[in-house]
């Protein structure tokens, strides 16, 4: 690259970096663009490179940076004993804080845990731990053998072949459980991803039970395509605990439902988009940023819709 081209590229980058600010001088930028067709080409290259980074960064490792922005330390919150349940603050992404949990204790009755905007970790008597996702509900029978989930949860279960533990999610029942796996129930549509060990999944509406091993994920849609088992392709199960939502050919309506659960933003999907699928990873920062990332990745537009937003087909 010649010195002149280098100078043009530097100027193009400076314009691009300035364009987010209200102080940007758009008239001067217009004049600069008009002065030489190479200016426009250089600007396109820089801006497209930045756009490409925005597309790819959700699935890239965050580069290490020096200095004083160390990760927040979540481990210093003391576990608080409460009845025989132990509540522990899990390692949560910053977006998943602040809570309302309503355990209802009655001897013999199931105990019900309802989360608000933050997740919560509970411990069973055998040392198993369950992290209940935001806006979710987990019922635990008095003998701690039957669990029922609506919403999301991460299970880290101490494996004991003699204990008949089962977890109900939608029309599915998970049994023969060891050890670490994630379950997401979205109004009967269920996703299970196994990180370690294996689980056994059955349902009255399945002809045969399904065994899932580590690295495998199951999706179940009672109304549509039935059961699909796939390798999770390196995506870490339960990524929501670190603020990452990873998808593989997932219906857009499910992604939108996850945003409501994990990113605290109400997102409806235009009926024209009902067949669209999404593959990729979203970072849960603030909900609107995450929604914007999704809309850009899929070339969609965002429209206002009551208290929330609606994804609509892209205009350009």
């Amino acid at each position: 690259m010649t010195g002149a081209e280098d100078t043009i590229m530097a100027k193009a980058a400076a314009w691009h970096a300035a364009s987010e600010s209200d102080a940007m001088d758009w008239d001067a930028f217009t004049l600069w663009l008009e002065a030489d067709p190479r200016h426009r080409a250089a600007y396109d290259e820089v801006a497209l490179a930045d756009l490409r980074l925005q597309e790819l960064s959700p699935s890239m490792e965050r580069p290490p940076v020096a200095a004083n922005d160390a990760e927040p330390d979540w481990s210093d919150e003391p576990a608080r004993p409460m009845h025989r349940w132990r509540w522990a603050a899990g390692a949560l992404a910053a977006a998943l804080v602040a809570v309302l949990a309503v355990p209802q204790f009655m001897v013999g009755d199931p105990q019900v845990f309802v989360t608000g905007a933050a997740s919560h970790t509970i411990a069973l008597n055998d040392g198993s731990e369950i992290t209940i996702a935001p806006n979710s509900k987990l019922e635990v029978s008095a003998d701690e053998e039957r669990l029922a989930l609506s919403g999301g949860a991460w299970f880290d279960i101490v494996h004991d072949p003699d204990r008949p533990l089962s977890i109900a999610a939608g029309d599915l029942t998970i049994r023969d459980i060891g050890t670490r796996f994630d379950v997401q129930d979205t109004d009967g549509r269920v996703r299970i991803a196994v990180d370690e060990g294996k689980v056994h999944v059955s349902s009255p509406i399945l002809t045969a039970p399904v065994q899932l091993a580590a690295g495998q994920a199951l999706t179940f849609d009672p109304t549509g395509s039935g059961v699909r088992v796939a390798n999770s392709q390196g995506a870490k199960a339960g990524g929501w605990r670190e603020g990452r939502l990873t998808y593989d050919n997932t219906p857009l309506s499910l992604v939108a439902a996850d945003l409501s659960r994990y990113a605290a933003i109400e997102v409806a999907v235009d009926p024209r988009l009902q067949d669209r699928k999404f593959s990729g990873t979203l970072i849960v920062s603030d909900g609107e940023t995450t929604l914007r990332d999704l809309s850009r990745l899929m070339g969609l537009d965002i429209a206002a819709d009551g208290d929330g937003y609606r994804l609509v087909p892209g205009g350009g």
Binding site: A13, E20, W26, D27, D44, L48, R276, G316
Partner: protein, 203 residues
């Protein structure tokens, strides 16, 4: 909480007021004046459908929107070009045209390309001076705005812009090199008219 539409936030009025300047900007930014009116029309439609909060500076907002619109269209153009090319290379074009295929599965080439680009970007970021690297990571990996980055790093807003401008140049260089080596590696020497169809090679 209802989100006011454009007509209620003064954006529609601002659009009319600045219409000619926006048109001139779009023509300069897109490079083909004959399509500028069309893009301006798109801007108007977008304005009416996009949710808006209060806008402090409607004029700057409209220019930024126009700038993004042009960039989106440029990207779509670039993608269509790449898709056509890989479709033809894959021996396609029998009974279905490219446009008829419903949402084609990502081709192996595209995945490979994406991986190469990720590696190139990662390497370029690693090579940045520490300040530029930190600003870029805060901006594009952590999702902070420039004002927030200035506060986090304890520097001025224009300092942040300088860091980001430097970082963006390196990103651009990395992707340009990545594209060249890919073309060389696949033995591809350009399309029918002898041009290597690489973004930004137009002069």
């Amino acid at each position: 909480m209802d989100k006011p539409i454009a007509s209620e936030t003064g954006l529609a009025a601002a659009f009319e007021t600045h219409r000619n300047e926006l048109l001139r900007f779009i023509a300069a930014r897109w490079g083909d004046g004959s399509e500028a009116e069309d893009l301006l029309q798109d801007l108007w439609l977008k304005l009416r459908s996009v949710a808006e909060g209060p806008v402090a500076n409607p004029r700057a907002y409209l220019f930024r929107m126009a700038n993004n619109l042009v960039l989106d269209r440029r990207r779509a153009q670039q993608r269509a070009m790449r898709r056509d090319r890989s479709w033809l290379e894959a021996g396609g074009a029998d009974d279905t045209s490219v446009d008829d295929r419903p949402d084609p599965a990502p081709l192996a080439d595209a995945l490979l390309e994406e991986q190469q680009e990720q590696e190139a970007l990662q390497a370029a970021i690693a090579d940045l001076p520490p300040g530029a690297r930190r600003a870029l990571v805060l901006y594009r990996f952590d999702g902070h705005g420039q004002a927030e980055i200035a506060a986090i790093m304890g520097i001025s807003r224009s300092g942040v812009e300088k860091h980001l401008a430097l970082a963006m140049r390196h990103l651009r260089d990395a992707l340009a090199d990545c594209g060249k080596s890919r073309l060389a590696a696949s033995g591809e020497h350009g399309d029918a008219d002898g041009q290597v169809p690489q973004p930004g090679m137009e002069r």
